[in-house]
């Protein structure tokens, strides 16, 4: 579901030209209908397009050792982070363009049942790679577990409303190991990409995770994409063991398979026809 709001009719049109620090944040609501119910676990993605996360300057603008909890890098980030390395003579944590431009829209999903809006529980853990969350990303170490103290001496990225140690209330999802943050830090390969936002777990075996029907999506619209003709989307998807629905593999397998078969038959005929000639021609030699 596209909620960029470029069309005047879109409820989010009013938010089109938001900037980072607009207070209060612009909010909008989009209603939509699910034709079919989603039986198994549902994955909620946000998608951006025309956003070049794979630009070289962007990709390298990070400091992995800072993110790994290295205290010296925390206060002295890598040069690669320029121009997002320091702000007002204080080191930025997390530094770099990637972190600075972290996606910060908030999406909430409601089921509309007879005009009553029931919120759907969105699980925010388990969206990042396990290894990223547990090994690659670590909060700085020090005395105590008070993140505020640990990030002492650093400043927040310019575009962030809050510092990194206030990303989440839960301590195991705060700071550098915030999963939304980790997901964002894995730069996408192509300018049109999607990232996992939330999980919707199936509660019991009796009813589907999401029934067919009316839903509404509440958006806290913070993230400006209009300046670079970007689009924002929200995607709901189920997944099999092979991943999401991907027509490419199926089509490709069928195509290649049939070509193989066809050529195989052709070759067989040719072999049959010319093979005899060759063997007989070889004998006199």
């Amino acid at each position: 579901i596209d909620y960029t709001g470029t069309e005047p009719s879109s409820p989010c049109n009013k938010c089109l030209n938001v900037s980072w620090d607009s207070t209060p944040p612009c909010t909008c609501t989009i209603n939509f209908t699910l034709e079919h119910s989603f039986e198994s676990n549902v994955f909620m993605y946000y998608g951006l397009s025309n956003f070049y996360q794979n630009h070289r300057r962007y990709v390298k603008s990070r400091d992995d050792s800072q993110l790994n909890g290295d205290n010296s890098s925390l206060l002295n980030p890598s040069k690669e982070c320029e121009p997002y390395r320091t702000n007002e003579d204080k080191p930025i944590a997390p530094c770099g363009a990637i972190a600075n431009s972290m996606f910060n829209d908030t999406l909430k999903l409601y089921r509309i049942d007879n005009d009553t809006r029931t919120p759907i529980t969105l699980i925010k853990k388990g969206i990042a790679w396990w290894t990223d969350k547990n090994v690659k990303f670590r909060n700085p170490t020090g005395d105590g577990n008070n993140l505020t103290a640990l990030f002492q001496g650093t400043t927040k990225p310019v575009n962030w409303p809050k510092p990194v140690y206030m990303l989440d209330s839960e301590p195991d999802n705060n700071g550098f190991i915030n999963e939304d943050f980790i997901v964002w830090m894995r730069t996408a390969a192509l300018p049109t990409f999607r990232k996992l936002y939330r999980l919707i777990e199936r509660k019991n075996n009796l009813q589907p995770t999401l029934q067919a029907g009316q839903y509404s999506l509440d958006i806290t619209y913070n993230y400006p994409v209009h300046s670079f003709d970007g689009r924002k989307r929200m995607i709901l998807s189920t997944i099999s063991w092979m991943g999401g629905k991907n027509p490419f593999l199926g089509i490709a397998y069928i195509t290649v398979g049939s070509i193989c078969f066809f050529l195989g038959v052709v070759l067989l005929i040719i072999h049959h026809k010319y093979g005899n000639r060759n063997t007989s021609a070889d004998i006199p030699n």
Partner: protein, 969 residues
């Protein structure tokens, strides 16, 4: 290459460091040959080679003469007599020599072996004697002293100024045609690289014209970047693209090619088929750079003596008084009828043998006659006498005669001793009528023990038969023709009995002619003509210059393979032709054209034109061309084009009477002709060295004439027949191997870098790499290098026996067929095609922006790159596997090993947070990729899609237009 240079250096050191004795300050000083300076007096002992060019001062003989053999210089095995000037000849001891005060003046160093002009001024008791010095007193470096115990000589030319060294061409770096085409491919790739970089840079700026792409809010530039000048930025962007794409130039190709050549050259040495048991010699590789050139040869230039032939004359048959005899087990057996040979014939036989024994210039190794006479007498079977002769024919004849029972035991004073059937006889040598090429015969006049004066003449049948008066002339003529047909070298023998009056007249006329001051030669010839007439024909001999085994087959095979064979020899015309005939170089059916003995430019040109016309008129028969040295130099000077045209239309060319440098000149002529054919020169003596060095590929035969040729050759083999295996099997393999190696390298680098290029379209041309830098580096070094190296070492696309038995297959790879433009285009296109499939296959998979993981998580750009890379490594390795026809366990090991290694390495590389690395981009990327089922399916699918079309193409071509090589597989 360095290794080979080192070996060469070692061999050079051996020569330079050889010990020699130099007379210095009154004594004999042992020193190294490199320390000899001009003016030193050098002592050389028997059977030693001369370290420098020497002017002979004295020998152990009274007359100051010595014998040398110049076999390693010009290929002539006979002994040459050199004499010292009489003033110095008496100085036979070191002490005497030390007192010698003399000045030698001579010309500047010159390449001609047979010219030397100088003079020596000897100061003796305040009196100066000036003597001229000619080539007869110059001992050339490289020649070997024979029959003389020791000599003293003054060094006149040393080091690079010696005549032998002047005849060398400096060893230039030889480059193979493959290397040349490799370089031109590189240039094409360089152009592709520049094109891609320029295109990317331009597109980048086109894209960046708008600020929203150049610098969106999420990705701002640093102050520094913003402030740098536009031109500087443009250049740095261009350079960045160059760096990004530079892997398209396969730098590792050179390393791999060098390694392949170095390791591959061992196979030639290891080949047991090239091993010669009798001499215990293997083939030897001096320049591994040229391995593949062996598969490209179009012209073979071969020396005759010692290369085609064993350089050993052997007596085979003779015809005496009209009856043909064959030598069987040391006895002459008449052919046809046996036992009823009349006594008259017996007498003739004896006379014939005596004639053979007497009419020659053979000398006997002095050492052996002294002591070995007794024991030989007891044995009475084979002669242990060592004969030396200026003509190997004579040597063979004398040896044959001694086997049959008439033994020449030596000369003493002016008489010759012959043991005939055990009885020693003494003949007084009265006159020798020397051989000269115009008369084509030689004679001796002897006085027999019984006082009879006899003339024995031996010579070519064309000069003897017309002069014969009696004897079985017709029958002999028939026999001679038969011998010639068998490839034997024939000589006729005749004799004449003089009455005392006749002899006196002859003696008088001879003396007159010999002492005549004017026109001595003409008058001598007249006298000789007068003497050598009214001969009574005794018979004819057939001597075989034993051809090496399988020479004929080899030459025939070379011809079948489309290689033109030229024989370049220093021999005289007739000998050369007869050997050519016997070794199959010339066919009986061939129309033999001659271009010989032209003294002037115009006649030579005229003859050439006529030959060209004759060739045009007659297309049916094959033509053979015979050229001699002088005519050749005339032809080359003015009528090069015409000559080349004639040559090209002849299927066989024979050049005789060639000087060493002339041989090289002929090679160069062909080498630089418009078609630029690949030439191969093969020879065994020092006289072939310049030719060997001039040709693209030089092959030395490890023969009897020293190691000069071997040292300067690129390859050395023991026998001529090994050439066919060397070319058809090794050459073919090496060529196929290196050609595939080169093409494959370009292919795999195109595959490698094109996805990078394509990726730029998706990342705003920001020079973002698709692959991790470690993968970038290791791709050529680890992941894909070994299978192709092993392939290039072991590949045998056709069984070696098939290759050898079907020389025609050689034509399939001639003219650099596998490195032409078409195959190159094919491989490059294939590379691009595969790259597109890799990239867009992965793009379609990832670009559908669905999750590929079972838990809904997403992949990033590094995973995308790794997927492309994985597919690529597998495809490229499998492609090599498809090309391989000959699977050894090593091939299996490295092919599957490479893929397995890639997986293990990636797991390891992605499995650890590397403390020293700046970024941890690859952390667990590979594992995550492999944990996706779709990725697995995609990998298999893309690999199959890439290779399937290739397989189809191969099969189709095989069935629809198979090359003869493929048919033979």
């Amino acid at each position: 290459q360095g290794y080979e240079d080192w070996l060469r250096h070692k061999a050079d050191n051996e020569v330079n460091g050889a010990p020699v004795y130099v007379v210095r300050s009154g004594g004999l000083v042992k020193t190294r040959s490199k320390n000899i300076r001009v003016g030193d007096i050098v002592r050389v002992a028997k059977d030693e080679t001369f370290p420098v060019d020497l002017v002979l001062l004295s020998s152990d003989r009274v007359d100051g003469s010595c014998h040398v053999t110049t076999a390693s210089l010009d290929g002539e095995t006979n002994l040459k007599t050199h004499v010292a000037v009489p003033e110095t000849a008496v100085l036979q001891s070191v002490a005497n020599l030390d007192k010698l005060v003399a000045v030698i003046e001579c010309q500047q160093p010159e390449a001609d072996l047979y010219r030397f002009v100088g003079r020596i001024t000897v100061s003796q008791q305040a009196e100066e004697i000036v003597r001229p010095l000619g080539p007869e007193s110059l001992l050339l470096r490289g020649a070997r002293l024979k029959n003389t115990k020791e000599i003293f000589g003054v060094a006149v030319y040393t080091g690079m100024e010696t005549k032998m060294a002047l005849n060398y061409k400096s060893k230039s770096q030889k480059r193979s045609a493959v290397e040349k085409s490799m370089n031109s491919f590189l240039i094409i790739y360089l152009i592709i690289l520049l094109f891609e970089a320029i295109l990317s840079t331009i597109l980048k700026y086109a894209w960046q014209a708008e600020k929203k792409w150049d610098e969106p809010w999420y990705n701002e530039k640093t102050e520094h970047e913003r402030n740098s000048s536009k031109i500087l930025r443009f250049i740095s962007d261009f350079l960045a693209f160059l760096v990004l794409y530079n892997f398209i130039i396969p730098i590792s190709l050179y390393v791999t090619v060098e390694m392949q050549k170095f390791l591959g050259s061992f196979f030639i040495g290891w080949d047991l088929d090239l091993y010669h048991e009798e001499t215990n010699q293997r083939a030897q590789v001096n320049t591994s750079d040229l391995n593949e050139e062996l598969g490209q040869v179009e012209y073979v230039f071969t020396d005759k003596t010692g290369t085609l032939t064993e350089n050993e004359m052997q007596f085979r048959e003779c015809s005496i008084n009209g009856i043909k005899y064959q030598e069987v087990n040391g006895k002459l057996t008449p052919e046809g009828f046996s036992e009823d040979s009349p006594d008259g014939n017996r007498h003739k036989e004896e006379l014939f043998l005596k004639a053979v024994c007497l009419c020659h210039t053979v000398q006997i190794n002095a050492d052996q006659t002294d002591g070995a006479d007794g024991p030989w007498h007891a044995n009475g079977i084979a002669s242990p006498l060592e004969y030396y002769a200026s003509s190997p024919d004579e040597k063979a004849l004398v040896e044959a005669a001694s086997r049959v029972g008439v033994i020449f035991t030596g000369t003493s004073g002016d008489s010759m001793e012959v043991k005939s059937l055990g009885k020693p006889e003494r003949y007084k040598l009265l006159h020798v009528l020397e051989f000269d090429p115009n008369r084509r015969r030689m004679s001796v006049i002897v006085e027999s023990p019984s006082g009879e004066k006899l003339l024995f003449t031996k010579g070519a049948e064309s000069s003897i038969l017309p002069r014969s008066k009696s004897g079985e002339i017709d029958k002999t003529r028939i026999h001679v023709d038969e011998f010639a047909l068998k490839g034997l070298r024939t000589l006729c023998v005749a004799y004449r009995r003089f009455t005392p009056e006749e002899y006196q007249e002859i003696g008088k006329r001879l003396h007159e002619a010999r002492t005549a001051l004017q026109q001595r030669e003409e008058r001598l010839a007249d006298v000789f003509n007068f003497i050598e007439r009214d001969l009574e024909l005794l018979g004819a001999t057939g001597v075989e210059d034993k051809l090496q085994e399988k020479v004929q087959e080899t030459i025939e095979a070379l011809r079948l393979a489309g290689i033109k064979v030229w024989v370049l020899t220093g021999d005289k015309h007739e000998t050369a032709v007869s050997v050519s005939l016997s070794c199959g170089h010339f066919h009986r059916t061939m129309n033999i054209l001659e271009l010989v003995q032209h003294k002037s430019d115009s006649t030579c040109a005229e003859q050439l034109r006529q030959l060209a016309k004759r060739i045009k008129e007659d297309h049916v028969i094959q033509h053979g061309l015979v050229v001699d040295g002088t005519s050749l130099s005339l032809a080359l000077r003015e009528h090069e084009k015409l000559f080349m045209e004639v040559c090209k239309n002849c299927s066989a060319v024979l050049c005789c009477r060639m000087a060493p440098l002339q041989k090289a000149k002929v090679v160069r002529l062909l080498k630089t002709s418009p078609e630029k054919p690949i030439t191969l020169a093969i020879g065994d003596g020092a006289n072939d060295v310049s030719m060997i060095q001039e040709a693209h590929v030089g092959i030395g035969i490890m023969g009897k004439e020293g190691r000069q040729a071997v040292r300067n050759s690129d390859y050395a083999i023991a026998r001529f027949k090994f050439l066919s295996k060397l070319l058809f099997v090794h050459g073919h393999f090496y060529y196929i191997r290196i050609a595939t190696l080169v093409q494959y390298f370009f292919y795999k680098n195109v595959c490698f870098i094109t996805p990078q290029f394509l990726y730029q379209f998706f990342c705003l041309f920001s020079q973002q790499t698709l692959y991790d830098s470690v993968y970038l580096t290791l791709y050529n070094i680890c992941f894909t290098s070994l299978p192709v190296l092993i392939y290039s070492l072991f590949e045998q696309h056709v069984h070696p026996h098939v290759l050898q038995s079907k020389p025609v297959l050689y034509r399939d790879i001639s003219k650099n067929a596998h490195l032409g433009f078409k195959p190159f285009l094919y491989w490059t296109t294939l590379g691009f095609f595969h790259a597109f499939v890799f990239f867009y296959g992965s793009y379609l998979l990832m670009g559908e922006d669905t999750s590929l993981l079972g838990n809904g998580q997403m992949f990033g750009n590094w995973t995308f790159g790794t997927l492309v890379f994985t597919v690529m490594v597998i495809t490229v390795t499998m492609k090599m596997a498809l090309e391989t026809h000959f699977w050894t366990w090593i091939n299996h090991f490295v092919t599957w090993g490479s893929i397995v290694f890639y997986f293990i390495f990636s797991l390891f590389y992605g499995g650890i947070i590397w403390p020293f690395l700046h970024t941890q981009d690859m952390y667990f990327v590979f594992v995550q990729l492999l944990s996706s089922g779709s990725a697995w399916f995609a990998i298999i699918l893309i690999v199959v899609a890439c290779l399937f079309l290739d397989v189809v193409k191969k099969v189709l071509y095989r069935h629809l237009q198979p090359t003869s090589t493929e048919k033979a597989q």
